[in-house]
């Protein structure tokens, strides 16, 4: 279908389009200046996974159920026969923030933090192990 002289009436539609864009020209902008302004995340936001050493029961259910196997856990038999965690790590580069681990953890040792700006220069820095797994993550170049 090509335009011909019969379609002169459609000029009105063209002008309507111009009207829409002109109206938006004077609307307040909706974007934010990212590094200086940030949007608040919602309460349920699934950011970097945090691990509470005190609460962990060393059941290794999280490592087993994680669909991408981002969690590594090594357990040890403690003095009183109770299992303890020898080593715990979460590979944030593999983690897909699906929230299954924190959902299934029977003792609530795993939780999601609102941290999501986790870019790092080295691959090793994306692996969060032991003491790096609680509190705020280290501040990188990007935050």
């Amino acid at each position: 279908m090509a335009l011909g002289l019969r379609d002169v009436a459609l000029v009105v539609e063209l002008l309507r389009g111009l009207g829409v864009t002109l109206r938006h020209l004077f609307k307040p902008t909706v974007t934010i200046h990212y590094p200086t302004e940030r949007r608040e995340v919602y309460e349920r936001y699934r950011g970097l996974v945090r691990w509470d050493k005190e609460k962990c029961a060393a059941c290794a259910l999280c490592a087993r159920f994680c669909p991408v196997k981002a969690i590594t856990i090594q357990t040890d038999d403690g003095e009183d026969g109770k299992k303890t965690v020898k080593y715990y790590q979460i590979d944030a580069a593999h983690c897909m923030y699906c929230g299954l681990c924190s959902e299934i953890c029977p003792v609530g040792a795993l939780s999601h933090s609102p941290y999501h700006e986790l870019a790092a220069y080295r691959r090793e820095d994306t692996i969060y192990a032991q003491e790096r797994l609680s509190g705020a993550p280290p501040i990188t170049m990007y935050r």
Partner: protein, 348 residues
């Protein structure tokens, strides 16, 4: 007094300066032709400086207009509201490696961006900025403007063809086809204005609009000229030669660094020239109450540039065969009708 003359009698002011220089040359025994050459060089430098500065401003303006139309900010970090963004762009482009594929036609590949820029710049020498302020007040200025404008499109095609890339070739061919067909209604629309004003001299056209602008006398021609000049400038809904989503970047695909920058500058120079031509032909050039003529002229061309940008950021891109059909079946007949009616009215 001096300032008043600069703004309100720019012709006399410029003649005064020239007189001073001539007297000085006669005093130190320099030939009159030399002083004329120096004068020309000074005018050229002023013109080029104006174009460069304004084009830099336009690249910023385009981002800002696009941004605010799209409910975002556009550049904000480089200076207040990103005003020195064009400088940052220029520095970035200067430091980029100018690459060329094996198999490019080196000479044409190199000179095309420059020539396109030059072609766009040539238009300015017939544009009357202010009373008496026109580099070459030719009697056939309108014709010259169209010739120069067509020339720059030719080098779009040459650049696309020489860079040995299929997308570039398609883009270049589209540019050529578009220019060929849209020159016709563009000139026909302008001829209507020339008929009304009684001459091809742009100065004469501006002066003839003293009481009433041509946009009122020739509204149809104004609309057709707007549409055809969009196509001529490869802009807006007719940016088929570049067509980022179809042809990757069209004729610009293989260009990088300063060569790309020259094309980019050339495009905006062309845009500004198109706006200046529209202002001269339809909006009464420098004419206007209260404000000095040069300010009126600048205000008008920037309003026109805004209209061009507004159109570009509103409409989808037209398809190449529709573009041709639109031209031959719609724009051209209307332009002919307009011309005929204008002639008839003038005869009666």
């Amino acid at each position: 007094m001096w300032l008043y003359q600069f703004f309100y009698q720019p012709g006399e002011w410029a003649r005064g300066i020239y007189q001073v220089m001539e007297n000085w040359a006669v005093r130190i025994g320099m030939g009159i032709q030399w002083i004329q050459l120096i004068d020309m060089i000074i005018v050229a430098i002023i013109l080029i400086a104006f174009i460069f500065l304004d084009v830099m401003f336009l690249t910023w303006l385009e981002r800002k207009v696009a941004g605010h139309i799209q409910v975002r900010h556009g550049p904000m970090r480089t200076g207040p509201h990103g005003i020195i963004q064009p400088v940052a762009d220029a520095i970035k482009l200067l430091f980029k490696e100018p690459m060329a594929l094996p198999g490019v036609d080196n000479l044409i590949y190199l000179i095309s961006p420059l020539m396109m820029f030059v072609g766009a710049m040539l238009i300015y020498i017939v544009i009357p900025f202010s009373p008496g302020w026109v580099v070459a007040p030719m009697d056939y200025g309108l014709l010259f403007a169209f010739a120069a404008s067509g020339l720059s499109s030719f080098f779009v095609m040459a650049g696309g063809w020489s860079s040995n890339n299929k997308w570039s070739l398609l883009g270049g061919m589209r540019a050529a086809a578009m220019t060929l067909s849209y020159e016709v209604p563009l000139i026909l629309a302008a001829i209507g204005v020339a008929l009304v004003s009684g001459g091809l001299s742009l100065v004469g056209i501006v002066e003839s609009q003293a009481g009433m602008w041509n946009i009122i006398r020739q509204p149809l021609a104004a609309v057709l000229f707007l549409v055809a000049s969009l196509a001529e400038m490869n802009r807006g809904p007719f940016d088929l030669a570049e067509a980022e989503q179809e042809l990757v970047a069209g004729y610009l695909t293989e260009y990088s660094g300063m060569r790309f920058a020259m094309y980019y500058l050339g495009e905006y120079t062309h845009l500004l020239a198109g706006a200046a031509l529209f202002t001269t032909l339809f909006l009464g050039g420098w004419q206007g109450p209260l404000l000095p003529p040069i300010l009126w002229f600048l205000i008008k061309i920037h309003v026109m540039v805004f209209v061009y940008m507004w159109i570009r950021w509103t409409y989808p891109r037209i398809r190449i065969d529709h573009l041709m059909a639109f031209n031959w079946k719609f724009v051209l007949p209307l332009a002919l009708i307009n011309l005929g009616v204008t002639g008839l009215v003038l005869v009666l």
